[in-house]
């Protein structure tokens, strides 16, 4: 176990390092943020002053060295645009993104698992075939486009739900959340569903495949021969075998939802960190891009770690070992 944790930490640090070098070097080559930030009328003297204040006059490896030293102290630099610590900017916006992603994940599971189980148990029924056709559609819908269509229908035409923003939030342990107010929920509904749509299809397909496969296995036949009622066979024997593999999927998909929130946040003007990174990329705001990256790498590593540990707890066949 300790060997496993050690190898995991090592891996995260190596990933962080490689990613930061890549992005640092890449951004340096691609262009000078000063060109984007300064007005064209700025004098060469002003220009030099800004360059010096950002430390952009030093050689790139030296810049990176300074960044690395600061990063180890937990400082990821100030945003070129906002002139605030980049880390603070991201941490401020993180709860909104996490709330959106987790809500979408729960939606995907709550809707996807029952439909998937049904489709797996009765693969030839009309309902199952409709579910599977829907899931192909759900797989193919471009998130950004269906988001627009949703705004068009539910916000513009029907006027049922707001089309943008986060609505009223309440503070829970100092973290602003939307789910506890009516207004917040109304604002959350469309973006969360938009984000969840693709994952619903995915969960349906994975669950169905798992159920179909498990139902064929010998121990299900043996459970029948033991005289167990079909309900117990499905709810105990089949479900446990089907849902355990889903844990891995849930972990990966939570990461993917956080990343894909970029699109949904752009459409629904959701004030999360996805919106921030898109804007940062447009103006080459290097500290923000780097901070975003560092944070996501750490976040994903934590998610993967939790998933692995959870998996080894639930599935007796899995033992953690540092490989």
């Amino acid at each position: 176990m300790s060997g496993y944790l050690f190898s995991r930490f090592l891996q995260t640090f190596v990933t962080l390092f490689v990613m930061s070098v890549l992005v640092f070097g890449g951004l340096h080559m691609v262009g000078n943020p000063v060109d984007v930030l300064l007005s064209p009328t700025a004098t060469p003297a002003e220009r030099l002053e800004v360059i010096r204040s950002f430390g952009l006059d030093r050689p790139v490896w030296e810049q990176y060295w300074i960044f690395l030293g600061n990063a180890l102290k937990g400082e990821l630099g100030n945003s070129f645009v906002f002139n605030q610590p980049a880390l603070d900017l991201i941490l401020q916006r993180m709860p909104a993104t996490l709330e959106l992603a987790v809500t979408a994940l729960l939606m995907a599971l709550v809707i996807g698992i029952p439909l998937g189980i049904h489709a797996g148990l009765r693969p030839n029924s009309v309902l199952s075939k409709s579910i599977m056709t829907f899931s192909i559609l759900g797989f193919s819908l471009p998130t950004f486009w269906i988001g627009l269509v949703m705004i068009m229908v539910f916000a513009v035409q029907l006027g049922w739900l707001p089309s943008s923003g986060r609505g009223e939030t309440t503070e829970v342990f100092g973290v602003p959340l939307s789910v506890f107010t009516r207004d917040g929920l109304a604002h959350l509904a469309l973006p969360a569903f938009n984000l969840a749509l693709f994952k619903i299809s995915l969960v349906i397909r994975i669950t169905r495949a798992g159920v179909l496969e498990t139902m064929q296995l010998d121990f299900v036949r043996f459970a029948r021969a033991k005289g167990m009622p079909e309900r117990r066979i499905v709810s105990v024997h089949v479900l446990k075998n089907t849902l355990i593999p889903l844990i891995t999927v849930i972990g990966l998909e939570l990461g993917s939802l956080i990343a894909f929130a970029v699109v949904t946040e752009t459409i629904f003007a959701w004030p999360g960190m996805g919106k921030l990174i898109i804007d940062a990329i447009a103006v080459l705001d290097r500290p923000v891009i780097l901070a975003y990256l560092m944070i996501t790498v750490v976040m994903f590593s934590v998610i993967n770690l939790v998933v692995d540990i959870l998996y080894s707890v639930v599935d007796p066949r899995v033992r953690l070992e540092g490989k």
Binding site: F219, F222, K226, G227, D315, K323
Partner: protein, 607 residues
Amino acid sequence: MTNPILSVQDLTTSFRVDGQWRDVIRGVAFDIQPRETVAVVGESGSGKSVTAMSIMRLLSPANSRSTGRIEFEGRNLLDLPLPDMQAIRGNRIGMIFQEPMTSLNPVLKIGDQITEVLRHHRGMSDAGAMAEAARLLDRVRIPSARQRLGEYPMNFSGGMRQRVVIAIALACSPRLLIADEPTTALDVTIQAQILELIKTLQEEEGMSVLFITHDMGVVAEVSDRTVVMYRGDVVETATTEEIFRRARHPYSRALLSAVPQLGAMRGHDRPLRFPRVDMTTGEIAPPQSTADTVRRDAAPILEVANLVTRFPIRKGILRRVVGRIHAVEDISFELRQGETLSLVGESGCGKSTTGRSLIRLEEPTGGTVSLNGHDVRKAGHSELASIRRDVQMIFQDPFESLNPRIRIGAAIAEPMIAHGLVSRRDAPARVAGLLERVGLSGEMMQRFPHEFSGGQRQRICIARALALEPRLIIADESVSALDVSVKAQVINLMLDLQERYGLGYLFISHDMAVVERISHRVAVMYLGEIVEIGPRAAVFENPRHPYTRKLIAAVPVADPSRRQRRVATAEEIRSPYRSADYVPPKRLFREVGDGHFVQIVDDEAAA
């Protein structure tokens, strides 16, 4: 006669295949009396398992249906509503299946899988059920039963899992136990234990047993009466004695004549073909004896000295070697032209690894292998290629050993063309000739492997092996996956080819009876070592090593008059895994007869 426990009358089961209903078994009828064991025997496709599944109504109702009567405790099972049937399953009728490795749910604890039956059928409390479960595990002779209730199936070996399955099936003291090939997937010594266990429990419980099997040896060992099935029909029902003494139906006779009986080779000094049976009259023609093919005058074609093959087990970030599988440990033997040497042993004994190491399909760790005077281990790339031409291999699974995407004609021609033995243009004629030699027709060469049956595919593999005109064939469990009758035909073919081409065979098998039938010499392997090697007659008739004796004693003999009782033990097959610093002891041999060597058993004796 008393009332039968189970009475099957005119049972017909059909499957829906591509929208059409097709009968799989027709008009099956038999009775089982109290305390009686009835065996249903047949080859694959005979419908024996479908019969068992129909009785338990375990076939999917969507694409199967059964008609007729299945009377059990005064009720027709086919008419019962599903909840009533579920109340019978696992309660009044227990059932066990072939695959112990997959019959248990991998993510549920053993205890939970036993207690769910007790709670459901007998309404026991959780605590009561746990106590009863421990008692049940004890009854199937699982050591330290109580502690093992909290473990998962993966911590149990195949034999132990089958014991758990039996414990579950017997949890509610059923009147009838249906055992569907319960020992087929097990090693022979474990099979002996499980058969013994079933017999003992049957006596203790006073229940009846319906035993489904393909193995005539098992039939002779366990059953009072026998039902012979062939392609969905019952062809003969009689007491087991009668079936084995004077079977009336030609198919029963053919089946029996294809079964090698351990010990039946006494008095023959050369391999023996299987007899042929006329399917209309049921006449059995005595088997043709084989010619003496062993070339004792020339040097052996294969000489193996101190061969060692170990597989390292690595763990951790640094992939350190934490242990090794000692698959083959210091073995030596030789094989002459025209001779059949069998390597026999149970799973994990290293017999297959030995065969694979000889032509470096696995890289040996030490020792020398000399084929036709070439040192295999020192051979470079091209020398190895020419060595491999002289040695061909035939594998166990005929469905696996042909590439599904290559026409069989191309598959047979491929090695000949690659080695420049024949031009692309002349290849078809050669392939046709080879196919005819193994009893197939040359027109078949345009077909793909999936269009052939198992026996036909094994013939194709033999034809392909012959293509390079080898002098030695390594047959790795080559007939094990085949039905008895097909197995007999393929073995006859192999004996024909040995006579014709003077082939040497290294015959790797777990089947003692087949080995006795076709070998000139036999080597018994245990935990990677040869424990006894010698002429066939000497090893089988005068086994000296305790493990050889145990192995021979465990084989069920296809003769009800030689039925034997054994002591029900719970020994397990040991693993050849050793820690990284393990140094194997040097083994010494004693010559107990002409060419008959036995490993000297030390204190921590193997068997």
